[in-house]
Symmetry: C2
Subunit: 342 residues, 2 copies
Amino acid sequence: MSDNLITSKCRIIVDAMGGDFAPQNAVRGAIEALNSDPSIELFLTGRKNDIRSVLDEFNLSFDDDHIINTEEVIDMCDSPTNALKTKKDSSIVVGATRVKNGLADAFVSAGNTGAMMAASTLLMGRIKGVGRPTIGAPIPSQTGVCNLFDVGASVDSKPQHLVEYAIMGSIYVEEIDGIKSPKVGLLSVGEEESKGNELTLKALKMLKEIKNINFIGNVEGKDILGGKADIIVCDGYVGNILLKFAESFLGILKVKVKQFAFKSLLNKIKVLLMKGTLKQVLSDFNAEDYGGTPLLGVKGISIIGHGSSSVTAIRNMVLKAKEMHDKQLLQKFEKALSDYGN
Amino acid sequence: MSDNLITSKCRIIVDAMGGDFAPQNAVRGAIEALNSDPSIELFLTGRKNDIRSVLDEFNLSFDDDHIINTEEVIDMCDSPTNALKTKKDSSIVVGATRVKNGLADAFVSAGNTGAMMAASTLLMGRIKGVGRPTIGAPIPSQTGVCNLFDVGASVDSKPQHLVEYAIMGSIYVEEIDGIKSPKVGLLSVGEEESKGNELTLKALKMLKEIKNINFIGNVEGKDILGGKADIIVCDGYVGNILLKFAESFLGILKVKVKQFAFKSLLNKIKVLLMKGTLKQVLSDFNAEDYGGTPLLGVKGISIIGHGSSSVTAIRNMVLKAKEMHDKQLLQKFEKALSDYGN
């Protein structure tokens, strides 16, 4: 394979050790993505023997020279900043470093979210014009999906950071989700311009001045599921709490259904009759197909998946990385931020 | 009626003009409360003719001298601070002023929430030791109810304010909900003590030092419904957004069910079979029985109800005011805050 050919392809590294079901789901998902788009140049980081075992078990063929052996593993419970310092030969550190060094375009992991964010931010560095990278989350809404930025890349944001989230989020949602001129809302405690906290009152003024985004003003908590905006920007503290709160809703619904069923035999029958329908109704809330969320604003494509990522989720994360690369999102972020004056 | 007798009773004023279904629901709910506890001395504020019409229509007897006639009405869309200045002869301003002047112990309204908060805070004043009053919301959880303080009385709190919410919230939940030594959590982005924003990191240290509350440390967004704490304290900006987000869940569930039903005749039948069961399962999420939430920290009992309050909700709000009075919550707040050093 000539050097020329390598660089013309989109080079994606997948963290084979990342996620609760690693290496199996990570390896299988990565290979599935490769099979559905052979123009990807795929690399796997992790313990070579473990990776090879999965490949053999599932009868998958994969070049040995595209497996980057790393001995250490950053666990879900490792402290992110500590892990970066002490586990230099881990799949996450090595993956992010290779992107930084220009040896790959994208890094995909369902491993320790904090470590993945720290590695991407600290090792890849930030795009010119970005004060803080942001991680978004797609939340199913009444009309489609609402993308919430930021859901925890950082806290105590400055107004300027919310502006960056709005600019990068708009480009991402337009290019990847295909929504023309996506509506951007600012999360606040009331629709009126006078409502908000110190951060949002200042951010509101700045967001109103930006020409290239479709800013619709303040939105409230009820507007997230209400589908009023395609993108909602907020500080990572509130975004993170909202996301975890939203994710817990289906869990409590299940508990309530169980509690109801336990009350009587009649209830048990009622629940049996309802279960299938309820599952179908709630199928939109299934996070799997969304396939991880990118950390926007770093100099490289970094896609972070849920620890429980399935094979399909990993596959979709890799394909999303490919799409972000092909559509030159990083270059578009930098241009838009420079046009804005950052 | 002698003066002596008046002051020994709990004197509660109900805003007859407050709520989307006023004066009917307010008047009927207030009379229902009076019937279930005749030891209450009830007053109604609002347009006397309108109140009298409801009383006549539903054949309810009520002393004319306990109707406090006010000509102006603060609408749901009125700006709170403006309304206080320009509508001095409104049911909300007159009701709060009478509590301030010692002519009543409690004021109950399902009217304009902002105006009710502003009137209670500015007219009644704050209890000694309270920097900021707080409004809580009971959110149904896996194990019972989680009381979230603050859900919008103020934003940009200082750590000290979260401490006050924790102290008053603990007393309220122990006395009114009957939960012995209720667990208090601090809303943050991770369980670890190192996780949080500037506000929560400082508040955490202060909360750990308080002897008379059962502080369990940081809790996350998923722990609200998860039932990890009986009380969760947070800044009013995030609390308000969370509350409105939570309230919108059932709405989107209904929309999703409808969308599913519209897809085919079979789906329509499935939904018909499921509807009743789902309603029963979700009955805990019915806000009506909670009967409004008090604004804690003001010098007087102030209970604020949802605009859509039913007759039962208003009844429960009045009975809650009575209970807060009988259990001397205001005195207990002041003592606890003074013991803490405020």
